[in-house]
Structures are given as structure tokens and as C-alpha cells.
Homo-oligomer: 378 residues x 2
């Protein structure tokens, strides 16, 4: 932490460090807060607000009003999000996808999910192309398991679609200088040339529908805020090629088990719960590692109460697992006033999480036979 | 010319300046001269030596002995060369292709010709993808017109083969840093990120046969020496991926009409003859612009004679148009001793060139209907 303010926390697509101040981050990145007026406007279309909107998990955006303006004049948007495939999906990954599924249902729109196996291969020294491709297939099963509509969903593995993607990426790449990516992503000159080029591939799904339909189709990208630099760059360059700027709606991170600093990493098993973790593992991880907002002794906790704002179990329930506002409110109050102990709160999370994961795993095994309904190839 | 020695001439894939000293260039690039022993070794296989070998137009190489060693133990090489498509092919472009055709005939080997429309699009601000693609089709006709065997020849337009090429390029790109391309090609940070990535695409045809056959197939690249930096980079990185280093055999440039400084540029019509130039245009260009090695007056010329080493008409005959060594020798002697005037030498060139071009154009029009025999697509 060399400079104050600037480096008290760091958020890039490849690195999150420190306790993220999301208000400061909005300012740094130049995104807009999701305010009451916008929530009301969304609600007019959806009838209700998803709990991730009600609770501020999705808290910031770019150009949501443009998306709704176009929608209201008959020009429907499509959704796009994606992932750099990894061996195991953890529950933090599911947050934006669960929300995207809701957007697809409510707006009845096309959804493109990009699995960037090329990116992962280029940025991870030790991974082979075969590794990242097999991760992509596994991760596709997780996406399908969430219940997306196959008639309205395309899952794109980059290396299966290079003919389309490379050709659309070329004019984008021609408009982006090395200086720009160096500054946007903090590269130094030892970066490999595939990684330098890569951001132009990540921009492609934002214009794929426009290319296919031969007219400008608005694109809305729900994503965790660390991916913003990719899309900021896309917003810069795409209008110079005659496309709309892609809009975005962005969420905060599900905190790691160790507490509110940093982002859950797929590579540290003590800090996260994978969708493949069995009930015993989940129980052990939560009990052993989940950061507690409670007091040092039961007596002290009964007297002073706990702090749900830093309690990881409470946060996981709030962000992903307890959809019912009333139940969540009761948990929050009981924990705050000391009626609910950390151990009890952890037990509630463990139950909820194991039910959620059992259900997810069942669906993801079924998804394996349905890959052809979703995957597209050149 | 800021520094002596280093900058008295400049040769890069995009720029040739000054009077090229080919001996110095070999030293700078680190290539080997083609010596008598190597010529003899080639002749053992081919029975005769092409006039471009006899006359030193192809004068330098990398690993030709490796190619012949492998050949002699039963591991046949394949040929690879290519071109950044341009609106008009000029006769300088034909030099390495004519030689490659001879190699294909003599060794009965597969030939891959790469048309790098992506490169041209990325490096030329004003050209659209549609422009460079249509140039590629036109240039393909010129290649086919030279008589390559369709059973042993594949013409690859990069943007038609991105699925294959991008996937093979990714591991290559992962091994090349921005620092390396910056140094190899003299880029500054305002270079676009597509151009940064591009060299990994140019390396693909060198390993395409190895990928297809699942074993190491040696690759020989005949090319003009300015392209050496691309292949030097490929030679550096491909062995780290388990492939052989591609070998090369390299020629000097056909001099521009204005004289021996620089390389013929496709963009300056006063310095070159396009394959599409009609007989009148050819006559006018040669008479008006072809640099003469003769004296200022006929009387002086008869007395002192001319210098074939700098006379462009003589050089074009030597390098491309007069295959007969005896006839060439007579021209050289007659010119040197003053019996042959510059105007007469020009007339001989004009005749030869127009016959050559008429024949080429006839074949290139027929080639238009044969594109499917040669072009491959993902």
C-alpha cells in the first residue's frame, strides 16, 4: 500500500486487494449508483425487484436508462456476461448469473454467455489449452443448471468460435493501442502478446447480435465490478465503429470466508465454497473459516450482540441464499441484539447452502446431456 | 541517417531504406550465405540449379542443411510463403514465388501460401477488411497463374481460416512478450493491439502440417529477406513448443525502377511495373523511369561502356526475365563494352516483360475459375 487513497484497495479483472470501498470504486471507475428512481423504472417493467436489487448487491451501472429508453421504443436489448473458466465454480460466481437469469425471465431477452478459455490459457502460465477447454465445458454445466431458457441462451466457448470472433475482433483491435491496454489493465512489457490482444475478443459478444442482425442492438452486461475495465474499453471503442456503447449493471463481491477484505478466489479452498463441495466439507469450511461478526464469548454476545455487516454467514445469506426479506430481517435483528449466536447463524447458512448445492449439482449433472442445446460453434 | 553503419540502410518487414549491403544484412540478421557446397548439395536432389540460385538472387538461408538432412532420412519438408495482400501485384512480388514453384516441382512437396489480409488490415489505417479480402482473392489468382500444382498447394486467406489459425496461434502468442515484438519490429506503444498479436498468426503455417500430421514436419520458407524478423521470432519460440525451427531461403529485392536504393514499393507506380500494366504503360515506365547504368551520350557509352551492376533493365532481366545464361552473358558483355546502348537494352526488357505479362494475365484470368481448387477455409 504505497499511496494512500489510490492504493488502499485495488480492483482489476485479475486482482482484488484490500477492503473495497464501493462508493470510492464507483467514483474511480465512473459508474452511476442505482438510485430509487432507477429501481422504480426497472420495477415498471419487471413487476417486482430481485432481492439483489432490493438489497443493493447490484448497486451501480452504466447507461441503464439508455437500455430502458430503447426498450420502451421497441428496441429490445440482449444480455451478455461471461467467465474465465476455472476448475471449480464457487458460489461467488453464481451471484451475477442468478441475477442474469432473473433479467432474462423478466424481459424475455436473448442471453449470450462467453466462456473465455483463450483468456484463461493466456493469463495462466501453468494451464494448457486442454485444461481451460475442459473447465469451460464444466462451467457451462453450471450455467445451464441455473435454468436459463435454451431458446434464448447461447453459451460461447471462445476457442470453438474463433472464426466468428477473430473476424469481429479485428476492427476493434485496430482501434485500441498498446498504451491504452497497458494503462487500463496495468500491464508491463513482459505481458504476452495474446494477453495484449485479448480484450478485443471480450468485446465481441457485446456486438455479436448487432453484427448478426445488421442493425444496432443494445447490450446489457450484468457483471461483478472488477470486470469493468474490459467493458470501459469496449465502451470507448465500439461507438467509433458505429455500435452502441454496451450498458452494464454491476454487483459487489460475495465476501471470502475470511472476511470482507478482497474477493473470493477460486484458487484458495479455505476462502470459498465450491459448488462441488459435499455437505461435510461445507460444514467444516463454514464452521472453521467463516469470519464472525459476533463477540468473543456467548455471555458478551448476549449482552452486546453481533455485527451482521461484517459477519460472512449473514452476508452470504443476504447476497445469495435467503430470498425472503422477512426471514433475513429477523436473522439480522436477532443477530444484532444477541439472541442469535454465531454458531446458530452458521448452522442456518450450512443448511441453506447444502440444500442449494445439492439441488445445483443434480441440475448440473443433467445439464451435461443438454450441452448441445446451449453451446454454439463456428 | 543518424548513426553510421547501423542506419546507412534499414530493412524491416514494413520499410526498406537506403542502399542495402546484403553482406552486412546477413551479418545483422544472422543468416548464412548460400555457398558452393550447399549449391552442390541442392543440385544432387534437383539435377540442376534454378537461375535464381546460379545468379545469387537467393543468396542466404537458415538451416538449409537441416532441411536436406531430414529429407535424406525420409522426412520431407513442406514449403511455406505468403504475402500481405495489396491491390496490385508487381513483378518484384513474383521473384520468390517463381522460385518456390521450382522448389515444389523439383522436390514434389506440399506448398502453403498464406494471404495475410488480417495483417494488411491491421497495419494499413485506411484499408477496410473488405478491401484487404478482395486484394487477397486477386493476389491468389496471381499465385495460381504461376502454375503451382493444385494437389500439392493450399492458399490460405487468414480471415477465412481463423478457427484453425487462432487456436494454433494462442500457444505461440503465450510465449512471445510485448518487449520482444517491440524490439523485433520497432513498434512504439501507439501500435494497435491487433498488430502486436499478429506475428503469432504469421507463424502458424510453419507448424500447420505438424499439427495436422501429429508429428514434426520440417518447413522451408522461401522469402525476400525483409520478412526475416517474423521468422526469426518464430524460430525462437516454436522449439519451445516442441516444433522444429522453420528453415528459410532468402532472396534480395528486385530493384525499383529508380535504381538500387530501397525496395520496389507497391504503392509508387513510377517505381514498379504491376502485372496489370498494359504494354504501352510498360514501355513508358521503362523508357521514362528505369535507371540506366549507361553513359551520358551515345559516343561516351560506345567508348566507356555501361555498368550492368546498377542498370535496372539489366538487373530485371538477370533476376526474373532472362532465364538463359548465355543470352544474359552476351547482354552483360555487350552492355559493358558499349556495343549495347541503354535504349536497346530497355527495348529488350520491354519486349520480354510484355510477353511475360501477357502470358501471366491470361493465366490469372483462368485462375479466377480455379480458386476453389486452391483456397481452403475452416
Amino acid at each position: 500500500m504505497t499511496k494512500e487513497n489510490e492504493n488502499d484497495f485495488i480492483v482489476t479483472p485479475w486482482e482484488v486487494h484490500g477492503k473495497v470501498d464501493y462508493n470510492k470504486l464507483m467514483e474511480r471507475f465512473g459508474t452511476e449508483p442505482i438510485d430509487e428512481a432507477l429501481l422504480e423504472r426497472i420495477k415498471k417493467h419487471t413487476g417486482e425487484l430481485h432481492y439483489m436489487l432490493r438489497r443493493g448487491t447490484f448497486f451501480t451501472h452504466r447507461d441503464m436508462n439508455f437500455i430502458l429508453n430503447e426498450l420502451e421504443r421497441g428496441n429490445k436489448f440482449h444480455l451478455y456476461t461471461g467467465r474465465g473458466p476455472s476448475e471449480d465454480i464457487h458460489i461467488g460466481h453464481l451471484v451475477p448469473w442468478v441475477f442474469t437469469k432473473w433479467l432474462q425471465d423478466k424481459f424475455d431477452v436473448k442471453f449470450i454467455f462467453q466462456l473465455t478459455d483463450d483468456e484463461k490459457f493466456l493469463f495462466e502460465e501453468k494451464l494448457s489449452k486442454e485444461d481451460t477447454y475442459s473447465f469451460a465445458i464444466e462451467n457451462a454445466c453450471d450455467v445451464i443448471a441455473l435454468g436459463f431458457d435454451p431458446k434464448n441462451t447461447e453459451i460461447i466457448i471462445d476457442t470453438d468460435n474463433a472464426q466468428t470472433f477473430y473476424n469481429i475482433a479485428l476492427p476493434i483491435a485496430k482501434k485500441i493501442t498498446y498504451s491504452t491496454v497497458k494503462a487500463s489493465f496495468g500491464f508491463d512489457n513482459s505481458i504476452n502478446i495474446g494477453s495484449v490482444f485479448y480484450t478485443s475478443i471480450q468485446a465481441v459478444p457485446a456486438v455479436l447480435e448487432s453484427v448478426r442482425q445488421g442493425k444496432n442492438v443494445p447490450c446489457l452486461i450484468p457483471h461483478a465490478i472488477d470486470q469493468d475495465p474490459h467493458f470501459r474499453l469496449a465502451r470507448d471503442v465500439l461507438p467509433r465503429l458505429g455500435y452502441y456503447k454496451p450498458a452494464s449493471i454491476q454487483c459487489s463481491f460475495l465476501p471470502a470466508l475470511g472476511g470482507p477484505e478482497g474477493k473470493m478466489s477460486a484458487s484458495d479452498p479455505t476462502q470459498t465454497v465450491y459448488v462441488t463441495d459435499d455437505p461435510k466439507t461445507v460444514e467444516k469450511k463454514i464452521n472453521k473459516y467463516a469470519f464472525s461478526g459476533g463477540q468473543v464469548s456467548v455471555a458478551e454476545h448476549r449482552k452486546k450482540g453481533g455485527d451482521p455487516a461484517v459477519d460472512v454467514s449473514y452476508q452470504w445469506l443476504k447476497i445469495l441464499l435467503e430470498e425472503d426479506d422477512k426471514k433475513l430481517k429477523t436473522l439480522e435483528e436477532d443477530y444484532r441484539n444477541g439472541d442469535l449466536l454465531t454458531g446458530e447463524l452458521k448452522a442456518i447458512l450450512i443448511d441453506k447452502l447444502n440444500v442449494f448445492l445439492e439441488n445445483h449439482r443434480e441440475k448440473r449433472e443433467k445439464a451435461r446431456d443438454r450441452l448441445d442445446e446451449f453451446l454454439i460453434k463456428d
